[in-house]
């Protein structure tokens, strides 16, 4: 962990020097809200076009021209589309001369969406904002990776394979190096950065999902505690042999590398966007490292208290779930890169953390990945029933 933190700190230190002052987006939002309130208060259906026109002005001259729209888009493209849609609604309704109550309601939605973004800019440009943003980037991007690392480290410890821990360390280190190099390549080599980045991320995520599935099914097969204890007692320390240890290292590598390059680019953007806040950014980064270490430690402590059988089963399920999420995220990246088509599904919510996106392709692929587990689950329950029954009568 310490080596990991040190290496990432070095990567951050290599980021280019800040160049320009960050605009005060919280003030921009305040201005839009104040003007919008005034426009809606004065709204009269007969003069609806003027209100719509004035809101268009707010959209173009304030929301867009200030760079607020682009900034929200860079942080959260779904939020940007949401806000744009709400602007369009207010404008459409007032243009059509809707009742004041309707326009008021549409404006309230837009105002809330804007004010939610304002919280993210809390005292924009301030030390605390720089700290929080820097903290959140690493926590958000590192969360899934730390889950994979914790689960596999706990697994190695519990199965008496602590000596194989070096494969995990190597996986992490190589992933950090590869992330740094990829980020550098993306920033300086490729002209079609967006597409190239999506392809790299998509392929990595699907590859990661594949390796996680492999590790997960293999762990699940080992969940029988008795089998394990006899393994360990019999000194079969080849339990995690070369190939499987490599798979563990690869799983960790992919879990970290998956978001690694993106994380480096985020920090680069942060350093450029909030100049003069380097100490706060480094502190936020360090705090996030501590946060991830705490998650790691909690997982480790908890895993030692859980009996072997549920521990293995739980670890296997966790890795499987992460694999399913990775499949959804990976397919979406390839859709964005236009390697795969997009068939929208209406009524399906979008939960990026779970890799849940409203398209036939992402959900179809996830279902395919889930199917073997569901079938295996049904078969297992069925088998247990048929083997339990004779045992029950024998006793």
């Amino acid at each position: 962990m310490r080596r990991l933190a040190a290496l990432v700190l070095v990567l951050v230190a290599l980021l280019p020097a800040p160049v320009s002052a960050a605009p005060d987006f919280a003030a921009t939002i305040d201005a839009i809200v104040a003007r919008g309130d005034g426009l809606v208060d004065a709204y009269a259906p007969a003069a609806g076009t003027d209100t719509a026109d004035a809101f268009s002005g707010l959209y173009f001259d304030d929301f867009e021209a200030s760079g607020l729209e682009a900034d929200i888009g860079a942080r959260d493209s779904a939020a940007k589309i949401d806000i744009e849609g709400r602007f369009a609604k207010v404008i459409g309704q007032s243009m059509n001369g809707a009742t004041p109550a309707l326009v008021q309601a549409a404006w309230k939605e837009l105002r809330t969406a804007l004010e939610l973004r304002k919280a993210g800019y809390a005292e924009a440009g301030s030390t605390s904002a720089a700290f929080i943003q820097s903290f959140l980037i690493l926590i958000r991007e590192g969360f899934e990776a730390i889950l994979v690392i914790s689960a596999l480290a706990a697994y190695l410890r519990r199965s008496g394979n602590e000596d194989k821990m070096r494969y995990l360390h190597q996986g992490i280190l190589w992933a950090l190096v590869a992330s740094g190099l990829t980020a550098w390549a993306m920033a300086s080599l490729f002209t079609l950065t967006a597409i190239a980045r999506e392809v790299v991320e998509g392929v990595t995520m699907l590859f990661a999902a594949g390796v996680l599935l492999y590790v997960s099914t293999w762990l699940f097969a080992k969940r029988e505690a008795q089998k394990w204890q006899s393994y360990v007692k019999a000194q079969v320390d080849r339990a995690v042999s070369g190939g499987k240890a490599f798979a563990l290292g690869l799983a960790v590598f992919l879990a970290v590398y998956r978001e690694g390059a993106e994380t480096v680019l985020f920090y680069q953007a942060l350093a450029i966007g909030q100049p003069g806040h380097m100490p706060a950014q480094v502190a936020g980064f360090a705090a996030a490292c501590v946060g991830l270490a705490v998650i790691y430690w909690l997982m480790r402590t908890a895993s030692l208290k859980i009996p072997l059988k549920p521990f293995f089963a739980g670890t296997a399920v966790l890795l499987y779930a992460l694999a399913v999420a990775f499949v959804g995220q990976g397919i979406l990246e390839l859709q964005e890169a236009r390697w795969l088509p997009v068939t929208p599904l209406h009524g399906v919510p979008q939960v990026p953390l779970l890799g849940l996106f409203p398209t036939l392709e992402t959900l179809g692929a996830q279902l395919l990945v889930l199917l073997p587990a569901l079938v295996a689950g049904v078969v297992m329950v069925f088998n247990r029933r048929s083997t339990d029954a004779p045992q029950g009568t024998a006793r």
């Binding site: 026109d53 173009f60 369009a88 088509p341 990945v369």
Partner: protein, 141 residues
């Protein structure tokens, strides 16, 4: 056992990719259609403005941008394919037109700007169509 399952999962993924890869890019002039719809609204704007109907001209300006250009995802496609800078420039032309209507600019000035913007939209849409950019990706994104 685990390897076999992994293999079956990968084969499944490949199958999904193949099954769904064919029909997506059937339409070759989707963006041209969106551009023409936008231009139709801009033409309405020009004519209403020429006739001194400020209200209809303002409405047409709003429809062109919010009703078509943005809603039909031409804006999103441009942003992604032609970059932020170009898209902002196109968007600012919509805004300029809106302001010209409000400020009572001359019919010639408005007509000139409408022609300029229409040319840009047609050109960009052709580029998107030629590149085979599917419209769907911007609907879920």
């Amino acid at each position: 056992m685990a390897t076999r399952r992994l293999r079956s999962v990968l084969i499944g993924l490949a199958a999904v990719a193949l099954m769904s890869a064919v029909p997506s890019q059937a339409e070759g002039n989707y963006w041209a259609g969106v551009a023409e719809e936008t231009i139709a609204a801009l033409t309405t704007l020009r004519e209403a403005h020429r006739a001194g109907d400020v209200d209809s001209a303002k409405k047409a300006a709003i429809t062109a941008y919010f009703g078509v250009f943005e809603t039909r995802k031409l804006e999103a496609a441009l942003r992604k394919e032609m970059g932020q800078k170009h898209t902002v420039a196109v968007e600012s032309q919509f805004n300029q037109l809106r302001k010209m209507v409000g400020q009572g600019a001359s019919a010639e000035e408005v007509a000139k700007r409408v022609t300029q913007l229409s040319d840009v939209l047609r050109e960009d849409a052709k580029l998107l169509d030629d590149k085979g950019i599917p419209e769907n990706v911007f609907i879920v994104n």
